[in-house]
Subunit: 187 residues, 2 copies
DNA sequence: CGGTATCGATACTTCTAGTAGCGAAATCTC
DNA sequence: GAGATTTCGCTACTAGAAGTATCGATACCG
């Protein structure tokens, strides 16, 4: 990929590289206290930075959590040569694995709830978290946007609902059932 | 059904019949302002009652919203003679219709998020809202508890995720797809 | 050294969940 | 009707959280 000349460094003191610590502290705190009680104050303290430093980077708690989710989920693993069924199955298992990680489900559900009544946050969530996966899947599966969005709703919605109702991640047998159901429908 | 002798009325001033007004005001307020900004103060004002009166009936905001959801969803419509597929399909469409009603999705997602980090609320939500439907479906479909819970996760999770991501209820074509997918798997 | 932007710290405003206390009103029992 | 009991609306309050403002100190550039 052609890379433009390295962007000129802006003047002033450069920002410290604290994103990793902040993200880790965020997930740790959300896991221990839940989305509501994971205050920005506490997250900042857990990360060893000042609250104002966090607000200088992310405009709101919801934006911080979303950035944290983007970082934690990471790219969808797609092996070259995977069949259509294998792509779908591995995407589902990928989602299940991630959502089972400490704090991730609570963080996701929290930002998600706020998004229902906050169009700005919904925009951030949709663009930064959902779109990357959607675009990859549209490309790889050759499906329409509507179709892939439906797929994402089913998979993420199901996994999150289980976490919300039971407080525990979905067991393997149910993940297998989800894979089987979706693959037999979309495959 | 054998009914015990009418319970003796407790002494003191009887409670006013305000549940309907409070529930309506709750959904109206949540629809307008979202779960987070639908404060108990505002709900009370919209219902024309004092905030303390609300807290005398429901122990927390989450419990109020849950009671409101139980009231708004109502019983699952099952026609005698319905086939297995028809029961599943009508249950899904029932859920889609309800969740599309103003305020319901936001209320549901909000209480749901709080439940992830609040075991007491999770207990209320599970017992009062989910169990009635689960028991009916176990009975009618002759499926195990695990199987029916999986079904509920898929249907409600999918519908809620769509509302959270788009702010709009799922369109008919996608509800049809959901019905087809689930029926072909469970039917 | 001068300019600029970040860092940590503290203090502050605004808003919300939930509680306490009070006088007034409603209902039952005697 | 009198007394007991409980609810009602109202006001005031506490505790906690999101987000902002300010300030001295610090890091980097030219």
């Amino acid at each position: 990929m052609a890379r433009a000349t390295t962007p000129p460094r802006p003047p002033g003191r450069p920002r410290a590289g604290i994103d990793a610590e902040v993200f880790a502290a965020t997930l740790r705190t959300v896991d221990e206290l839940g989305y509501t009680h994971a205050t920005v104050d506490r997250i900042a303290a857990a990360a060893g930075v000042a609250k104002t430093t966090i607000y200088r980077r992310w405009p709101s708690k919801g934006a911080l959590i979303t950035a944290c989710l983007v970082d934690a989920f990471g790219p969808l693993p797609i092996k070259a040569g995977d069949s259509r069924e294998e792509v779908i199955a591995s995407a589902i298992r990928f989602g299940a694995l991630r959502i089972a990680e400490p704090g991730l489900a609570a963080a996701f559900a929290g930002v998600f709830t706020d998004a229902i009544s906050d169009p700005e946050l919904r925009e951030i969530l949709s663009t930064q978290l959902q779109d990357p996966y959607r675009l990859v899947l549209q490309e790889v599966l050759g499906e329409s946007e509507q179709r892939v969005l439906f797929f994402v709703d089913v998979v993420i919605g199901t996994l999150l609902h289980r976490m919300g109702m039971t407080g525990e991640p979905m067991v393997k047998a149910d993940v297998d059932a989800l894979v089987e159901m979706v693959v037999s429908y979309l495959g």
